[in-house]
Assembly symmetry: C2
Homo-oligomer: 479 residues x 2
């Protein structure tokens, strides 16, 4: 059990904030060594493991860095190198989406071999537990020869649904296997949910910026996207959401509450609850995309908004694509009061989810290696984000702004106004570098000088050179 304070806050957080305050007040300066774990534990009368948690928290937030065997030191704050992106409050009305054509070009480029992979949003193959997944695959092909001889009709493999239900405690829910529907990735789940709660012409409130797949799905279903200003650290602006709801007939809201794509923020619990309550009061369903919630850098797995749902109005979508293997396409949805309708739609769009990937994931979860894998994956991704952030701050023109992701592997980069991100994308392709231009993340033409950079791959000379090249390309726009 984790130590907590009277207020229910984890003790390590209270301890970490002591040091955070000292750094912010200037009592500890860049290059200072902070107390050793042992001496700090003694001094604060907390356990060594609590101090360790606190120091990791400080490290994850970029306050301190561990130097080999000599302890933790206060580091140059990233803020001094590159500030965070600006928060856009300007309001836009419901818009028809038109990002499809650009997107297909981007995707074709991303899939080409030999590119520096700063485009596609997934962890490097080497960070995936492919070895164990292959072992399980071989074992199932041997011991269960008829695994694919039947359709796994909706809701899908019971073994897998039981494992997901078991894990749901981690993010504040207590699902039973019967609540879960297995899908071909979170994208299918999201489409099914959209179709279950809204129809052509309906207005869907979304984060701005948001994952382009959401925009494409809304467009293809003949719905309209209503962009809600979204803060790069705290997420959806609830005041803006509320006033938008008053102005427009919003039929549903889509939000990625944890490790948002592209901003990387995690919405606080209070805010998640407020979001759920705000929408429930107006009978507006919330489609929550928790695709990367398991990749939060905090030691504690963040809750989902669904945890605060009392009316079955939240449809929670997720997937194992970003954590285990993108090519498995195993996702799931807990659709609350829309469960039956979503299940029906699943049947009539793909009949069933492929059996073997479901069974492999179920066995992986059952075998207990999931949490161990998550721990090392999160550490690696955090390292990669830190390394890429520093390099971007160093190589990109002044005026560049950078997010501080709380999890995942994505950086959202606001470039100087002179940079045309779509042109930059084309120039980068010519240099064999893939990035995603910011315009794809808006239905209303925003983010023309933004790019999304994936930090899914371990730091390397190749990536270093690619960022130098990108920086130079950006500089040229200013001339």
């Amino acid at each position: 059990m984790e130590e907590t304070t009277h207020s229910g806050e984890p003790l390590y957080l209270k301890v970490a904030r002591l040091i955070e305050a000292q750094i912010q007040a200037g009592g500890l300066r860049v290059g200072d060594r902070i107390p050793s774990i042992r001496s700090f534990s003694r001094q604060q009368k907390v356990s060594v493991s609590t101090t360790l948690q606190a120091y990791f928290w400080l490290e994850n937030r970029g306050y301190v860095e561990a130097r080999n065997k000599s302890g933790f030191y206060v580091r140059v704050p990233l803020e001094d190198l590159a500030p965070e992106p600006k928060f856009r409050t300007a309001d836009s009305g419901p818009a028809e989406v038109g990002v499809g054509d650009v997107l297909m070009k981007v995707m074709r480029a991303v899939a080409e071999p030999g590119m520096v992979p700063l485009g596609a949003a997934c962890p490097a193959p080497a960070l995936q537990p492919y070895h164990k997944l292959n072992r399980i695959t071989r074992s199932i092909a041997h011991s269960d020869p008829f695994h694919s001889s039947y359709y796994q009709f909706p809701p899908g493999s019971e073994l897998l649904r039981r494992q997901i239900a078991r894990r749901s405690l981690e993010f504040g829910c207590s699902f039973s296997a019967a609540d879960i529907l297995i899908t071909c990735g979170a994208m299918e789940a999201l489409n099914l949910c959209l179709r279950a709660v809204a129809g052509p012409g309906d207005v869907i409130a979304i984060e701005s910026p948001t994952y382009f797949g959401v925009l494409l799905a809304i467009e293809a279903l003949g719905m309209k996207a209503l962009e809600i200003p979204t803060h790069p650290r705290t997420g959806l602006n609830l005041d803006a959401l509320e006033s938008s709801i008053k102005k427009h007939r919003v039929k549903a809201c889509i939000a990625m509450t944890n490790c948002q794509n592209p901003l990387g923020y995690i919405m606080g619990d209070e805010k998640k609850k407020a979001l759920v309550d705000l929408l429930a009061r107006r009978q507006i369903p919330l489609i929550e995309d928790d695709l990367s919630g398991d990749l939060a850098f905090d030691l504690e797995r963040p809750k989902v908004a669904k945890a605060f749902d009392r009316n079955g109005m939240v449809l929670l979508c997720s997937s194992f694509s970003k954590v285990l293997a993108p090519g498995f396409r195993v996702g799931w949805v807990e659709a609350g009061r829309y469960r039956k309708e979503v299940e029906r739609l699943k049947f009539l769009t793909t009949i069933a989810t492929p059996s073997l990937p479901q069974l492999v994931v179920a066995n992986f979860l059952e075998s207990g290696g999931y949490d161990r894998h998550l721990r090392s994956l999160r550490l690696a991704l955090n390292d990669q984000i830190q390394a890429m952030s520093k390099a971007i701050a160093k190589y990109f023109p002044s005026g560049t702004r950078l997010t501080r992701p709380a999890g995942g592997y994505l950086l959202w980069v606001e470039l100087p106004k002179s940079v045309n991100a779509l042109k930059l994308f084309r120039q980068a392709i010519a240099e064999k570098i893939t990035i995603i231009p910011g315009g794809l993340f808006s239905a209303s033409g925003h983010y023309q000088s933004h790019i999304r950079i994936s930090c899914g791959y371990p730091w390397s000379d190749q990536i270093d050179r690619a960022l130098v090249t990108l920086g130079k390309l950006c500089e040229e726009f200013a001339r």
Copy 2:
């Protein structure tokens, strides 16, 4: 090379028709032994293999039966036991579909363990090449450890697309790998095609009866189904289709031209061409579902309507579900001039098709075992259809009518008017027997006394007893 006559007709067919004519004229009667293969070859001056092909054709059509080691005998024609279903010509207008609720109940029953499997449309596990598929699966998991570490972005695995393109010659096409898009089964392909060519409110012309998945997809997309009278042996009535097109603004047509579900007919080449031309003249795209074309009982693989497409107006959908492994969910589509739009829709609904099943199927096709597997599967399914047909003719009340499928594993049974198929379905479930009630195959309330029976499983005492039970249940309706 197959021997052909001057008219281009296969020689075996000409030879077979000689005997067919004799049987029909009464020159050969029930129980008569037809000439031995050797003597008939000599007499007609054709090769032994041509005679063998002719005799198989006669056997497949129920004219003769092979008796162990003693040759071929004229058998009791099925016509005398149970006539074919009536051809309904009555016209119905465009209708909103409403079969969803019943369907989900049916599917849940079909998926329950311990049921006699006359419901779900797939071949028995024992008839699938699971052993070889598992061997390939293990081998890929070993030799290509990163098989699922990436997304197989649309259009999907090139290896698999090349294999499908290679096979396309068999059904009268000459696709290149670039023409093909891999999907999560034919059902996803069908949905993508529908969304590419039509929108909410549009009228889609369909066969009547037709596969309920088609009806559900049309319903869920807010489109309307226009049922076209369909003959149990020859398929869509083109005159009826033409006059319907004149009356209603038909936006697209869906047809299963080979081994139709549920009727089992194969449309002739002439008619396929006429269908394509009729629709092309009016710029109406044809979505062709060739899911079971490989299961035609004829020695020659029937062509697809797509083979006669000169304008890219035919979108051909297919899958390996019914031939290799339903749980793999590997389908594909050649979408003609709609290729780009269908590819875009694929991306935004499921991002990618799972990698491993694609690779396993590709390797299976490459290894060359596909045709051998098809031959034995088709023989088995034909046997099963014959056995089930005889049993139904024997056990079911007089007035029962039965299709004569030209391929696949489905029987469409027209029961006496007194039978309510939905009630029969419920009673059958209570007896642990699954069937599909006919109402599911219509958007306009037809086929209330019809059922679809799957002959995917080898004949057994259990199936025999199930058919006796079903026959008795039918009798009770007449009282």
